[in-house]
Symmetry: C2
Subunit: 226 residues, 2 copies
DNA sequence: GCAAAAGTGTTCCATCTACACCCATGT
DNA sequence: ACATGGGTGTAGATGGAACACTTTTGC
């Protein structure tokens, strides 16, 4: 077999949503290159773990986060993307529910933080490019798969869902049409609980019915939000 | 940096279309493991080339094919997918126009052939899984990007396009609605040439107007075939 | 003149869009 | 009683689906 010394890494773009803000999870590097820069969590793949396992391990180690949704995003392998070695990075796209937003810098004292995607620091390596791709993926996927629920609490208000869509898609959505459409899918369970947000009429709580979604999907149903 | 000895490879799923058949390009391996099995063209990435360059080089070396469309598909890195070493394979999805279908086995006397995707041999490694993913990508992408034209001659009949869609999507399509829709996009140029296929009324030739497509796309046009 | 493929238009139905008023609560 | 956010229905426009006959050629 040919001699080859290319390193294989994984990096993750982890999105969270809170207070009408779409956040992304970053760590501050404490070694060169790009020491003190912010970067996506990630690292080299170990020889005895699968790629997904590597992502989950790195996230746990560096940020203490466990994700609610994970899928492969894209692989980046251009020459010179890491000044030290040739590194091919297999990147992942992840979503975290608010109840799992707690983060903790790791033992190496790396800093960890959630950043508003609209207000990001400079990122190390080609991570800005990766993040851009992830944001597109999120925007697209939101329209044809019910992944928005992995960014909300288990029980949520319809207005939360609506605001989530408006924030991520960066456009206005008509409340009545949106509600009609989503409820028409029959994949939400309307709970018998109301929440009063201080002022205004109390709103109903809803839950995403994942089982119903999968059942409907098998029968040819297609989730689709314009 | 941690010791790590994972190899990085690229593999390509190359589709061609001829005589109403969707074909995929395979090579017959002449070394173990899977000696004499059919497999996707590919191989290890060299240290001084980008991933796309590696794919194009391997395709050239192993099959003598130059592709007309190339995009990254997915990366496979499970433990044990190659019995010799840990190999992470970054796979690509490619399309070839009929005028570039000529293939040639390489100097190592590897066999190369086009196979009907409906009638495939057993494939080496996890290549069946990769191919399955590529087929899905092709089917999906056909509906929201004008990539079908990269499987047809430069000048083609409308009925060719129609049959291409029916073959790949594996369903019937109404000729009138299909034609109306595609022509409505305004991205085809109707040539002043007719072709007689032996019997029946001679048909007009068309050309895909790529520039017009990109221009329309920038203005918000969205290619979309149900 | 018949077989074969190309070319074309209309009607119906479903879905999307736009849009405004009442309801339940807290202060 | 007023401010705040929640909840709902209708009419018009648009786009998709279904569908059959005429045209041009080769034999």
């Amino acid at each position: 077999m040919i001699r080859q010394n290319i390193k294989v890494a994984v990096d993750a773009v982890v999105f969270g949503y809170k207070d009408k803000i779409l956040n992304v999870l970053l760590i501050r590097r404490n070694i060169d290159p790009y020491k003190d820069s912010w970067a996506l969590p990630g690292g080299l793949v170990l020889e005895n773990e699968n790629l997904e396992q590597a992502v989950e391990r790195e996230l746990k180690e560096e940020t203490n986060v466990t994700v609610d949704y994970l899928e492969q995003l894209y692989s980046f392998g251009d020459l010179g993307r890491d000044p030290r070695n040739r590194v091919v990075s297999i990147t992942y796209f992840a979503l975290v529910k608010p109840e799992h937003h707690d983060i903790k810098a790791d033992t190496d004292a790396k800093d960890v933080a959630w950043f508003d995607v609209q207000d990001l620091p400079e990122l190390a390596f080609d991570h800005a490019k990766i993040l851009k791709k992830a944001k597109k993926r999120l925007q697209n996927k939101l329209t044809y798969e019910p992944i928005g629920f992995d960014l909300l609490e288990n029980k949520f208000l319809f207005s939360d869902l609506e605001k989530l869509y408006m924030t991520i898609l960066e456009k206005e959505i008509d409340r009545r049409n949106f509600r009609k459409k989503i409820l028409g899918f029959g994949i939400l369970k309307e709970l018998d609980e109301k929440v009063s947000e201080g002022r205004g009429r109390p709103a109903n709580l809803f839950q995403f019915n994942k089982n119903q979604y999968f059942k409907s999907k098998e029968e040819g149903f297609f989730f689709d939000i314009k």
